[in-house]
C-alpha cells in the first residue's frame, strides 16, 4: 500500500509527445481512474508507473521514495492487462503463485496465500485449469488474483473490463471496486469508458493529448467540467456556439449562431465580443409548446424520438445544429417533425470561451 506521486512527468517518443508535464498525487488506498480518448497518454502513464518504460522527464515516488530508475520487478506492483496476459503454460494455481515464487516464498506459506487469493475472486475450485479452459470473466479474475496475491504497493489496471461482454463488465466493475475497498490497495485504473470510471473510481483524471484536463470526483467533474472537452467526454453534452453580446448581473447574454439569444451563468474572464461555447446537458433541458415567461427558450423542430429504456432521447434541430435531450419516459413525447421550444434555466448551463474561436 502506498501513496503514489508523479512529479512533472513527461514521456516523449520519437516524433510524438505521449505525456507532458504531469503532476499528480494519489493518496494511499485511493481508486483513481485515468480516463481519456485513445492516444491521450493514459496507457503510457500506466507503463511509466509500472516501470515498463522510463520517463523522459520528471520522477515517480512510491511512499515518498523515488522509484523512477527502479525496474518493474523491484517495484512491487500488481498489473492487470487488457488481454489478462495469463501464462498459457501454467495452471491457474501456478499463474497466481508466480509472483510468490519469484519472492522465494516457501510452499508452506505460498499454498494458503494462493488459495486465499483465489477465494477472494471466487475461483477456488478452478486452480488446476489452464487459462484456455476459462471464460473471459474467469481469466480476468485470475489476472486480478495474480496481481493481488503479492500484496503490491500499487495495483495498475489497464482497461481490464474492455474484453468482457456488457453484463459481465457491469458485474466485474463493482466486484473490482469491492475487492479494492476490502484490500485497501492504491489503485490506478485506465479506461476510455467514462461510465466505468464514474462507477468505480474515487477520483477521475481526465486526460487529452498527454495533458491532464481535470482531476476530481465524478460529481465534481460532471457538474463543473473544466472545459467543453471534459464536458462532452464525461457524460453527454450539447455544445452551443455563439458570441457574448452583453454582461449583466451574474449572467452573460450569448447570441447563438441561429440568431437567438440565451442567458448563461457569468464566468470569470467572460467579455463582450468573445466567442463562447455554452454547454447544456441533455437532462437539463425540457420541451415546451410555448416559450416560458422566464429562462432560456429556443425554437426547434423534433427530428427523432427514441426510447432508451428509462428515458426518451429526443433530437431537436436548432438552426443547423442538432441538440439532443433526454426526458422521463412517463412524459408524453412530442411527435417527430413537431415545432417546439427547448427550455432550460440559465443556471443549468455552463459558459466557456471557445478555444477554436476568434474573438470578434
Amino acid at each position: 500500500m502506498a501513496t503514489v506521486e508523479l512529479i512533472d512527468v513527461g514521456k516523449t517518443f520519437p516524433g510524438a509527445v505521449a505525456v507532458s508535464r504531469m503532476s499528480l498525487r494519489i493518496p494511499q488506498g485511493e481508486f483513481l481512474a485515468l480516463l481519456g480518448p485513445s492516444g491521450c497518454g493514459k496507457t503510457t502513464t500506466l507503463n511509466l508507473l509500472a516501470g515498463f518504460m522510463p520517463p523522459t522527464t520528471g520522477k515517480i515516488l512510491f511512499n515518498d521514495v523515488n522509484v523512477t530508475g527502479i525496474p518493474p520487478h523491484e517495484r512491487n506492483i500488481g498489473v492487470v492487462f487488457q488481454s489478462y496476459a495469463l501464462f498459457p503454460h501454467m495452471t491457474v494455481f501456478e499463474n497466481v503463485a508466480f509472483g510468490l515464487r519469484m519472492r522465494k516464498i516457501e510452499n508452506a506459506e505460498l499454498v494458503p496465500r494462493v488459495r486465499r487469493a483465489l477465494d477472494i475472486v471466487h475461483l477456488g475450485q478452478l486452480e488446476d485449469r489452464y487459462s484456455r479452459q476459462l471464460s473471459g470473466g474467469q481469466q480476468q479474475r485470475v489476472a486480478l488474483a495474480r496481481a493481488l496475491v503479492i500484496e503490491p504497493a500499487v495495483l495498475l489496471l489497464d482497461e481490464p473490463l474492455s474484453n468482457l461482454d456488457a453484463s459481465l463488465r457491469e458485474k466485474m466493475r463493482f466486484e473490482i471496486r469491492e475487492i479494492q475497498k476490502r484490500v485497501g490497495i492504491t489503485t490506478v485504473f485506465v479506461t476510455h469508458d467514462q461510465s466505468e470510471a464514474m462507477a468505480a473510481a474515487d477520483r477521475l483524471v481526465v486526460m487529452n493529448k498527454g495533458i491532464i484536463q481535470q482531476v476530481g470526483t465524478a460529481r465534481e467533474i460532471y457538474e463543473s467540467p473544466a472545459d467543453p472537452f471534459v464536458a462532452s467526454f464525461i457524460g453527454q453534452a450539447n455544445l452551443l456556439r455563439g458570441t457574448v453580446t452583453a454582461l449583466e448581473e451574474g449572467h452573460a447574454l450569448v447570441l447563438l449562431t441561429n440568431n437567438e439569444t440565451i442567458r448563461a451563468p457569468w464566468r470569470a474572464g467572460a467579455q463582450i465580443g468573445q466567442r463562447a461555447i455554452v454547454v447544456l446537458r441533455p437532462e437539463d433541458a425540457a420541451i415546451a409548446a410555448e416559450p416560458p415567461a422566464t429562462g432560456n427558450a429556443i425554437a426547434g423542430q423534433v427530428l427523432r424520438v427514441s426510447l432508451l429504456g428509462p428515458v426518451v432521447n429526443i433530437g431537436v434541430q436548432v438552426g443547423t445544429d442538432e441538440i439532443s435531450i433526454v426526458a422521463p419516459r412517463a412524459q408524453t413525447p412530442p411527435r417527430e417533425g413537431e415545432k417546439i421550444f427547448l427550455t432550460w434555466q440559465p443556471s443549468a448551463c455552463l459558459l466557456f470561451a471557445d478555444p477554436d474561436g476568434v474573438n470578434g
Binding site: 515498463f52 518493474p72 512491487n76 498459457p88 509472483g99 519469484m102 519472492r103 495474480r146
Partner: protein
C-alpha cells in the same frame, strides 16, 4: 466445413503424395535383399548377404557414428545461437537490424558446394585441421538460418504482455526468459533441433570438402563408395539408415509426440 466427399478425396490425395515420397526409398530397401552381385529391381532371389557384407565394413559404422556426433553438435550449437539471434532480432530495435536479418538468412541462398569450397580454403589458409569440428562448424552455418526462422516464429507468437506481466510479478530478465519465454518457444526450439539434426545428417555438399578419409560422414562415405563400386552393399547400408530413421521417428512419436513437439496440437 469440409464435406465428407472432399475429405475423402483429400485423404486419397495425401495418401498418394506420401506413397510417392516413400516409394523410391522403399525400392532401395527391397533391392538390398537381392541375391545378385549387382543392383537390380525387382531383386533376383532373396538374400541377406549384403547386410553381412556391410557389417564387415567397419568404416560405414564409424561414419554413421561420426555423422550422429556431428549432427548432434551442430544442431545444439545452431539452435542455441539461433535462439540468441532471434531474441535480439525480435525483441530489440537497433541500427542495422534489417541488414543483420538479411545477413543471417544469406546462407540459404548460397549453394552448399560453394560454401564448402570457401570454408575449405579458409581452413587451409589458417592451417586449421579438417576434423569433425570443422564439419560441425560448416553445418552450424547452413542450419543456423533455419534455427533462426523457427525460433523467430515462436517468439513472435508470444504476446509481449506475458513478459511484462512476469516482470511486474517480480521476475528479473533471466527469470522471465527461463520461466516464460523459454517454455513458450519450446515448439520452435524442438523443431529447430530436429530440423538442424536432419539437415546436418543429410549434408553431402559441405561435408565433401571438409572430411578426410579418417573423418568421413556417412553421406560422403556412401557417395565415395558409389563413385568407385556400385554393388548392392550400398543399398543395404542405405536400408539400415532408412530403418533407423523410421525407428527414431516412431520412438519420438511415442515418447514426445511429434505433432506436440512442433506445436501442431
Amino acid at each position: 466445413m469440409i464435406s465428407d466427399r472432399i475429405r475423402r478425396w483429400l485423404g486419397i490425395y495425401a495418401g498418394v503424395i506420401c506413397l510417392l515420397s516413400v516409394l523410391p526409398v522403399l525400392v532401395i530397401v527391397i533391392e538390398s535383399f537381392t541375391a545378385s552381385d549387382y543392383v537390380v529391381f525387382p531383386p533376383k532371389g532373396f538374400s541377406t548377404k549384403w547386410y553381412f557384407a556391410a557389417a564387415q565394413r567397419r568404416e560405414f559404422l564409424e561414419s554413421a557414428g561420426l555423422s550422429l556426433v556431428v549432427a548432434f553438435l551442430s544442431s545444439c550449437v545452431a539452435t542455441i545461437l539461433g535462439t540468441l539471434v532471434a531474441l535480439a532480432l525480435v525483441r530489440h530495435r537497433f541500427f542495422g537490424r534489417a541488414i543483420l536479418q538479411a545477413l543471417f538468412m544469406a546462407p540459404l541462398s548460397l549453394p552448399g558446394i560453394i560454401f564448402g569450397l570457401a570454408l575449405l580454403q579458409f581452413l587451409a589458409m589458417h592451417a586449421i585441421p579438417r576434423d569433425i569440428f570443422a564439419v560441425a562448424t560448416g553445418h552450424v552455418v547452413i542450419t543456423l538460418p533455419f534455427a533462426i526462422r523457427f525460433i523467430t516464429v515462436s517468439l513472435a507468437g508470444i504476446a509481449p504482455e506475458l513478459e511484462l506481466a512476469a516482470q511486474s510479478l517480480g521476475a528479473d530478465r533471466w527469470a522471465v526468459f527461463r520461466r516464460i519465454t523459454l517454455p513458450l518457444i519450446r515448439p520452435g526450439f524442438a523443431a529447430s533441433l530436429v530440423f538442424a539434426f536432419i539437415l546436418s545428417f543429410d549434408d553431402v555438399a559441405v561435408a565433401l570438402f571438409l572430411t578426410t578419409p579418417t573423418s568421413m560422414t556417412l553421406p560422403v562415405r556412401i557417395y565415395v563408395y558409389i563413385d568407385q563400386n556400385y554393388d548392392p552393399l550400398i543399398t543395404a547400408v542405405s536400408a539400415v539408415v532408412v530403418i533407423a530413421a523410421f525407428l527414431a521417428l516412431a520412438v519420438m512419436e511415442r515418447t514426445l509426440g511429434i505433432g506436440r513437439l512442433f506445436g501442431l496440437r
